[in-house]
Symmetry: C2
Subunit: 489 residues, 2 copies
Amino acid sequence: MKEEANPEGITVKKDDDFSEWYTQIVQKAELADIRYNVKGFIVFRPWSVLAMDRMSDLMECELQRKGHLPVLFPAVIPESNFKIESKHVEGFLPEVFWISEVGSEGKKLEEKLALRPTSETAMYKVYSQWVRSWRDLPLKIYQRCQVWRYETKATRPFIRSREFYWIESHDVFATKEDAVKQVKEDMETTENVIHEKYCIPFLFFERPEHDKFPGAVHTYAADTMMPDGRALQLPSTHLLEQNFSKPFGIKFVDKDEKEKYAWQTCYGPCISRIFAAVVAIHGDDKGLVMPPEISPLQVIIVPIYNTKNRKEILKKAEQLMKSLESACIRVSVDDRENYTPGWKFNHWELKGVPIRMEIGPRDIKNKEVVLVDRSTGKKKKVKEKDIIKSVDKSLEKIQVYLMKKADKYFSDNLHTAKDKDDLKKILDEKGGFVKIEWCGDIKCADAIKEETTGGVMRGTLFGKKEKASGKCIWCGKPANQTVYISKQY
Amino acid sequence: MKEEANPEGITVKKDDDFSEWYTQIVQKAELADIRYNVKGFIVFRPWSVLAMDRMSDLMECELQRKGHLPVLFPAVIPESNFKIESKHVEGFLPEVFWISEVGSEGKKLEEKLALRPTSETAMYKVYSQWVRSWRDLPLKIYQRCQVWRYETKATRPFIRSREFYWIESHDVFATKEDAVKQVKEDMETTENVIHEKYCIPFLFFERPEHDKFPGAVHTYAADTMMPDGRALQLPSTHLLEQNFSKPFGIKFVDKDEKEKYAWQTCYGPCISRIFAAVVAIHGDDKGLVMPPEISPLQVIIVPIYNTKNRKEILKKAEQLMKSLESACIRVSVDDRENYTPGWKFNHWELKGVPIRMEIGPRDIKNKEVVLVDRSTGKKKKVKEKDIIKSVDKSLEKIQVYLMKKADKYFSDNLHTAKDKDDLKKILDEKGGFVKIEWCGDIKCADAIKEETTGGVMRGTLFGKKEKASGKCIWCGKPANQTVYISKQY
């Protein structure tokens, strides 16, 4: 695995200037090239592509295990499809890239084509042909693809771009009950993959009425917390109920021989955006720290040799690599000449490889190697015969360590505000998610956004009945719900 | 793995009406839905997506093994990039879909964006920033993506669409010699993956001057032969030399401290098109026949039960599935109620699963199962304790059988024409690839295309010096090369 050399480390501390740290890590760990000459579009470089591939594979695997099958719908959607559901079109129309001409003469197309910003309107028209009978249900389908949105907000690599990579699943059911169950299954999937494999903590919020997915009856979004205390939205799952099945004509003949409209849900984990959370949450002042489950390499072997013993040590390193590979561990040997071991240590620390294995002449003599844990920096000597067992154990340990560390930061930054000033102060000084009571009036939500430093309402916590017994933190009228506020990306 | 029911088999014989057979198999094996309402765009359904994923994974694995790394470049290319190399733009401009407006009001973009028909002009401008020194070379990079071309020829699912899925690799070298070596490596990759894993035979032809990739110095294309004797172009690898590095400014400081233009190649296996060859070449009158290496399922277990013993037999089937899974075999149990075993047999034959395993009450008593080989239809009883070994062996056998069978059809249809009439006759009556001698004048190539039934020049056979000592088959002047003619898709 040859990578372009990049010897310079990150020059700011993550805690001092997270924004600059993020900019540097994207460049120095060679995650993306932001110099592509179309605004809001970036080049994803090998290290991020390999990691995102692992992330997608794990997500696909979980979706398939739960009965989803993959499809690939066209990237283009005819304007007429796109405009079938009115709220949906209202929400997405401002962000559509339109294909309206072809060829050298710029011949106009008969009908404009939207480059998909999301695929409801591509898929559901075909669903109306696929779904005929209760026997065709549930229909559980997903696609791994990219989508395009003409973002007017400032773009940042992985966090917000005009082109991003996601998986979108679109399910159809015979009953509302089944659809509601699917929403819970999507949340479980999020936990199993995003928390347990990517080590990213989150809470699911039911978004308030004014911030729902365009066309959804209920929107439940998983928010994580970035190191600067701002929320980053991860997957959301939407209960569409019959809002799309009616305009798109997705109906079926039920067991009672009556024709009924189907019930729908959709779920969209955005892999490239979640990767931003992986980079930001686990990274440290030396660079990336990749969770073992998703790291392109789990072990990097750095041979330490001089001109005399080079051949012997490289041979040993190759042997070790093969034995680790046979245990399904992703491993490589950095056998590049022209670079010192020290340079290689820095390089792979920057890339966040969970374990570095050092092997030098003395180690060979003692039949041992040195293992260095990227997450804690701890070193240990391991006997050759114990290597596989020890590496396996260390990888598991690092995975759990990163998850717990991220969980702790997350829970340490859940706050409760007792009044207006308290809310402002927490948002300014600590960040994180702030629990408040709210009257339910959008005017108060808007006022909070305007009069605090960008405090946006995340919604009510899903699955935990947090009663509101006091007054709205903003207007003082009786509160009817407990919601969370945070700054956001 | 639940699939929509489709009990009807294919109603024509492949040998009698290949075209109708192909149309039916795409629909009845649920490979694609052609009813999407944009011309030339189709919906790829689960069975084809799963197979193409396997195919892509195998290709990516081989590319990575040979030192390529994955990237993801934007799907959009600014018009100014697109127009940098004149022959390239001339070749692709007529097929470009243009994005020229955004949002609800159709705001015009400052610069039109091409939806990539191929990625040279997206990548090479960035390459000019990545390549600085001889140390940066070779740069071997690929991406797995989709491309869009406004085809004016008639489209057919998988064979020719306006949107297709491919892998494109774009390599940069310090010397011409290295670039020439890469072309040979690409050919070896084609052999290792497309022949050995997908069981698709081909020959590499150097395309004549008038049929090269726009911008290439040499184009080498792998052509396979469809069951109707027409050629289908599979990957091509192109020696670009310095045709792009000069206009795009891809230069490097060499070891001698002189600045030089780099040498380039590109290679583009189109997975969705190669899948058409897999479907067409291996399929038979009962449906698909999938090579074990790329089949989404390698074994389908069909339990044969009545209401009394159902539970016991399903339990056994699950056990067998788990034991096969533990040996890394892709397997599923068809436990659907409401369908008879006979219906299931037909269903999975249509899908081309290499091995069907039948398990009924008598088999359980005898501690055995029945294995049915999809490629030959042969049945055998296997003792329970030998199942994994036997399945592994059968899968290997089927893989080899399909490869040899396809090879034989291919070599049986290589012909030599002694004169004009002979050429016409072979093309009309037998099809296949016809060897002729040619003077090198494009007028004769054009005349052959017009005056035979669509005979198109494939070029000279790569790597085999076939001398031309006689006369051009068409004009009678002295021939200077031996070329092949065939009808084509």
